[in-house]
Symmetry: C2
Subunit: 261 residues, 2 copies
């Protein structure tokens, strides 16, 4: 029999909520009301692009793909780790959650490596190598609520822009060593849809077998495929359950897709 | 007999070092080499002004005094809590110091209140009310190296610009509950000088009685008075010793002024 672990909820919120101060405030109130140990991971939003434009920094493209060059990384650090992360931290404090805003450099919580691919230049983009779950455990047991932005570091002094979905899933997997982890991905839809045109066609429960069938039938396709592959990888590595849905799912008043074994 | 407390070194570094990447790198190497528990407090430097200029934000003055209005506070948060604080954190990580970059909002580590004075408008400037020494104790005992920028919060969701010297002394006083605290103020001179024109005339040791005499004689004057009043207040509230000097004092290779009871 497996020893019972304490529960930990990890919530990932996307840039579309960050961009809307009223939606962000409502989301933070719902997040703050969640009981028990928890971690927040937030995306960036449009403020980085706006700040870069204001500073006269132009987006650099390489073979059609936008890349994170040094000036753009600095803007990401300023806006994600500075403005957004500290605003979220201060707002959560006002809601009696003892939030601490983090990049992966802080406490070496998320170590990454600069993405390398002979064929493609990405710039200062990092792929996660390791999560310091031991220190996260100490923090959450002090009732600290870690709030991560999507900046990590390489351990050699370099900060790196990193995908927030990946941060959420790798933190979830690492923390499943000590906790019974529930991961909630909040995005702009109510969940994984049977019919992408019908917002009400949410698949309420999705096992890996059901996913394979729906994928073969072409019902689940496009951008949802990597998102769900990521989810099932996390489930296979110890995360107990994953919810995909709108921020409303935090209140338990909305349908959402529950991804399970 | 008083129980022996573990030693804690708190170092405050000013904006002049932050502005010089080579000097900053050298300073961080010296700081990283310090043994035992430690905390860093850093000032801002000119990058906030440069960023504000770049964004077309003009400094606002009120009765001749520059004030921190909302756009300028946002720039301070972006540059101090974002760019500078996370660069310092990543650099310290590369030097095998498990740094965590903080504002006062993080973990409610430094609670402040917006400065009020019927006669003067200051904008978003905070005076420290309380330091969460209990959580700092947990962190440093995990060998975390807290690195504070000079941004605090009011507990109601508002971030506030705060004097870095004051942050260093209030953190030092609060931590003296648990630690034998040594505070080191690094600035552009080698110490408190007998003759402000002679950089070699450093007063090596300064007790409160000696300070009072030198003040009466007009040898210590101007900006050094509030700095030293601040130091003696900290000493009277439990800080064991305070050093004032150039960043070289971290290496123990430079003279500096030692402020004691």
């Amino acid at each position: 029999m497996t020893e019972s672990k304490p529960k930990l909820t990890i919530v990932k919120i996307g840039g579309n909520v960050i961009d809307n101060p009223i939606a962000l405030k409502a989301f933070l109130a719902d997040f703050a009301a969640l009981k028990g140990y928890k971690i927040l991971v937030h995306g960036g939003g449009k403020i980085a692009t706006k700040t870069a434009e204001g500073l006269g920094i132009t987006a650099v493209f390489h073979e059609g793909r936008r890349i994170t060059d040094k000036p753009m990384l600095d803007v990401a650090v300023m806006t994600y780790a500075g403005l957004i992360n500290k605003d979220i931290t201060a707002q959560l404090q006002a809601l009696n959650n003892n939030a601490m805003g983090f990049t992966g450099a802080d406490g070496n919580l998320i170590l990454s490596e600069k993405r390398k691919n002979a064929a493609v230049y990405f710039g200062f983009v990092g792929d996660v190598l390791a999560v310091n779950a031991d220190l996260l455990k100490v923090l959450v047991e002090q009732n600290v609520v870690p709030a991560f932005c999507a900046i990590t570091h390489d351990g050699k002094g370099q900060l790196l822009n990193t995908n927030a979905d990946t941060i959420a899933s790798t933190v979830a997997v690492a923390c499943s060593k000590y906790f019974d982890v529930r991961l909630m991905y909040c995005f702009e839809k109510k969940g994984v849809l049977m019919d992408s045109e019908n917002e009400e066609s949410v698949i309420k429960s999705l096992t890996f077998d059901a996913y394979k069938t729906l994928r073969e039938q072409g019902i689940i396709h496009s951008g949802m495929l990597p998102k769900l592959e990521n989810c099932f990888n996390a489930i296979n590595q110890g995360v107990t359950q994953i919810g995909i849905g709108s921020p409303e799912m935090l209140k338990g008043e909305s349908v959402y897709t529950l991804v399970t074994v």
